[in-house]
Symmetry: C2
Subunit: 140 residues, 2 copies
Amino acid sequence: MYSKQKKSNRKYDSSKELLQGAGLRPTQQRLALANWLFKGCPKHVTAEQVHAAARKMRAPVSLATVYNTLNHLIEAGLLRQVAIGGQVYFDTNAGGHHHLFDEKSGRLSDIPATSLRIAGLPRLPHGKALSRVDVVVRVR
Amino acid sequence: MYSKQKKSNRKYDSSKELLQGAGLRPTQQRLALANWLFKGCPKHVTAEQVHAAARKMRAPVSLATVYNTLNHLIEAGLLRQVAIGGQVYFDTNAGGHHHLFDEKSGRLSDIPATSLRIAGLPRLPHGKALSRVDVVVRVR
DNA sequence: GTACGTGCAAACGTTTTGCAGCGGG
DNA sequence: CCCGCTGCAAAACGTTTGCACGTAC
């Protein structure tokens, strides 16, 4: 009688497409992680925080799988790794943008690429192409 | 007859002052490390490279002491830690400047702070002061 | 059915720490 | 002489890997 059986899984649909689009099999664990990562506001999280979040969601995933999945998402260009202050963060916003880092709390937030203007870039070494420019504004 | 006995150690004098100025006892090991780090051109080195350099200089220092000394120098503001591309570098140039990173070779070089101009910094969070702005120009 | 993903535990490389002995002031 | 530094080895840390089992297609 119902047009779809899994009405309650509707919210996972876009995560499923996201994973499939990246060539990743949409397994339960990956769906749970991708759903948490990409729904809601952009996040800057550590692997440990992802693992903790998965447990809280009653979707227990092993830490190894968390790392595997995060690495796959990075390869697919859906996630970015940011190393600041001796900590490695995974940034759910893979687009070009910069970061504001609070040295006291270790908290990270985004700065839109469009709001920042950089002038006076040096001549690049011969045969080298610009990959990207990362800016970290540190506050205390 | 000689006004100074240790004429051959003259080249370590400035390193000695550097350490003393930072409140660090100028021990043999620290002198050897500081001398290698701060004489010659600015360097971007890993802890392992510092350790290897010490061995080559016939001034063997344990790796633990290398880390201890580097951390002390960082606290003293004489050294800066830079994490790029999954590697941690110690930068002997503690002054304000930026970095150019070659993603292929993993090599790091300096960009003088004066040559770069950044405009459009966001308003800082309430009660926060700007610590510094780090720019990494990545090339491939 | 098969290829790929998962969980666990063990391996890994890097950095820190605990402690007995040494050396600078 | 004393406190701080050193060396060594062991621990801690975050991340990766190997393998038996499970699951999506």
